[in-house]
Each structure stands twice: as C-alpha cells, then as structure tokens.
C-alpha cells in the first residue's frame, strides 16, 4: 500500500500521514473482523463458564506465556526498527527487522508445537477429538474457538513475518530511502496490532481459572 506523494500538487498540512491513516483504517476493519470471534467466545463462555475453565486447563499455559513474551519482544524490535529508520541507521534497521521476523517465526514454531500436543491429546474438534470428560460440549466449543482464533491470528502473523523479511531484504538496496518511509511505519502498525490481538487472546485462552 503506497501513497503517491509525487502526484499531490501542493504540500498542505493535512496531506501528511496519508499511508499511516490508511493503515489505521485498515486496522479498524481488522478489529471488527476479530471482534466477531471475541463476541462468539464471550457468548460460548457465558453459556458454560465451568466448561471453559475445564477446557482452559487442557491448554499449555507455559507455552502460551513464553509465546506472549516472544511476541511482546518482537514488538519492541519492530518499534525500534521503525525508530532507527527515522534516525537514519540503515544497518540497524535491517538487523532489527531480521530480529523481528525471527521472533515472529519463533512464535509460530511454538504455536505449532502446541497444536501438535493438542492433536496428540485429541483436542482438535472435527478432526481428532477424543475428549469425553465432563463438559465435553463446552470443551469442544472452546477448542473450536481456540483453533479459529489462534489460527486466524497465526495467518496474520505469518503474513507479517513475510512482509518484514521482504522489507529487510529490500532495505539492503541503498536506493531505497530509510528515512521517510511510510511502508515501514505501516508494517510496524500492523505488527503491533497483531501483537495486541494476542495480548487479549492470552488471558482468555490460557488463564481461565488457572488456580484450579
């Protein structure tokens, strides 16, 4: 998504931030997009709170917590990459972008391990669901939502990793200015947004009645 500042005839104050405004609006659509899933979660959880607590105990809260830490850290590197761009440090930008992409990939790797464990435990609704303890219905609903929500999130993150890597490669080319780059800023916004979604998913998935 690139604005074309070259076609704008006069530079007047309100012409700034074109691409990032576009990005924020895009993020608004994303919020509504995920909002549906959060609403569905709320509905299903209120229908059977005990069931959701029981299901949450079947998740791997340590992996979830580690993953949260990874993702928060990746947000730091991403934000610093954008900042280094403003400051004009090309080498630093590239290194930070790679760090971000790496952390994102690490997150996905951990997530895959988790999925694998859930498959082993027969917690994958529709494909491999063998759980028959109490609240089986709610547990199934929980894991259905779990896979949809984390799955959609993981897709977003994968796209993010790909874009960050692409940007890191492109920035090696000195003909691309690192200073005034709306692309990097927008990508940063996207990355932080994906992080923000996870921040909400984390307590809703892993921490329900953890004291049990």
């Amino acid at each position: 998504m690139s604005a074309r500042p070259d076609v704008v005839p006069v530079d007047v104050p309100w012409r700034r931030e074109t691409a990032s405004l576009g990005m924020w609006i895009f993020l608004a659509t994303e919020v509504m997009f995920f909002g549906v899933l959060f609403l569905a979660y709320t509905h299903a959880r209120l229908a059977d709170p005990q069931g959701f607590a029981a299901a949450s105990r079947l998740t791997h809260e340590w992996l979830g917590t580690i993953n949260t830490a990874i993702l928060l850290t990746s947000s730091l590197t991403m934000a610093l990459a954008v900042r280094s761009g403003w400051a004009g440090h090309r080498a630093l930008v590239i290194r930070l972008l790679w760090a971000t992409a790496f952390l994102g990939a690490a997150f996905i790797a951990v997530k895959l391990v988790e999925y694998r464990l859930e498959w082993r435990d027969g917690l994958v609704p529709a494909l491999h669901f063998t759980y028959s303890g109490p609240h089986a219905r709610a547990v199934q609903a929980f894991f259905f939502l779990y896979f949809v929500m984390t799955g959609v999130h993981a897709v977003h993150l994968t796209i993010g990793v790909a874009l960050v890597a692409w940007l890191a490669l492109r920035d090696r080319d000195p003909s691309h200015p690192v200073r005034r780059r709306e692309t990097a800023e927008c990508l940063g916004l996207y990355w932080h947004f994906v992080d923000g979604i996870w921040i909400f998913l984390y307590p809703l998935i892993y921490l329900v009645e953890l004291w049990r």
């Binding site: 990032s20 949260t68 730091l76 403003w86 932080h192 923000g196 921040i199 307590p203």
Partner: protein, 103 residues
C-alpha cells in the same frame, strides 16, 4: 514528529509489558472468583494501551488518528453492548434438537 522518541522509552515500555505479563500470569494462580477474568482483561487492556501509545506512537499521532482508534473500539462496544441487551435479558428453555445425519 520532528525527532524520534528516545530509545529509553521503548525499553521502558517493553519492561513494563513484561512486568504486566508476569503479573497477569501470577495473579491467575490465585482464586479471585470473577475478578480473575476482570484482572486478566484489565491487564491486557493496559498492555495494549502501552503498545498503542508508545510502540504505535499514538501519543504523538495526530488527533485524527487517535479519533479513528477510539472510534473503532467504540464500534466494537456497540457490537458487544447491543447484542448484550438480548443475551442479558433472554431466558432460554432448552429443547431437544439434534443435527441431521452426517453432521
């Protein structure tokens, strides 16, 4: 938008985020009843606010962008709030029902 914010700000934000993560994980181990969820969500909101303000530079963004960010959350609240008027006041008598063959 003239000079970029100092690196310190970023590091402090990150530290705060990590601290909040630790807090939320720890608190979840105590039995607080309904407050468990409330605390979890409140901390999540605080984390997202930190990310938004410092990593996404909402603090330095134009009023317009801030308005869009807030409006989005408001619209989400509409979705939750008004469908809530139904769910909060509906009494359901469950009836037997089963999915058709093959489902």
């Amino acid at each position: 938008m003239n000079s970029p914010p100092p690196v310190r700000v970023y590091i402090l934000t990150w530290l705060a985020l990590m601290a909040l993560l630790a807090a939320t994980f720890t608190l979840a181990h105590f039995r607080l009843g309904a407050a468990n969820t409330a605390v979890g969500l409140a901390i999540a909101a605080a984390k997202v606010a930190l990310v938004g303000l410092f990593f996404m530079h909402l603090r330095r963004a134009s009023a317009l962008i801030a308005i869009f960010a807030v409006a989005t959350l408001f619209w989400l609240a509409i979705l939750f709030g008004l469908s809530g008027t139904d769910y909060a006041t509906r009494r359901i008598a469950p009836a037997p029902w089963s999915a058709p063959e093959g489902h």
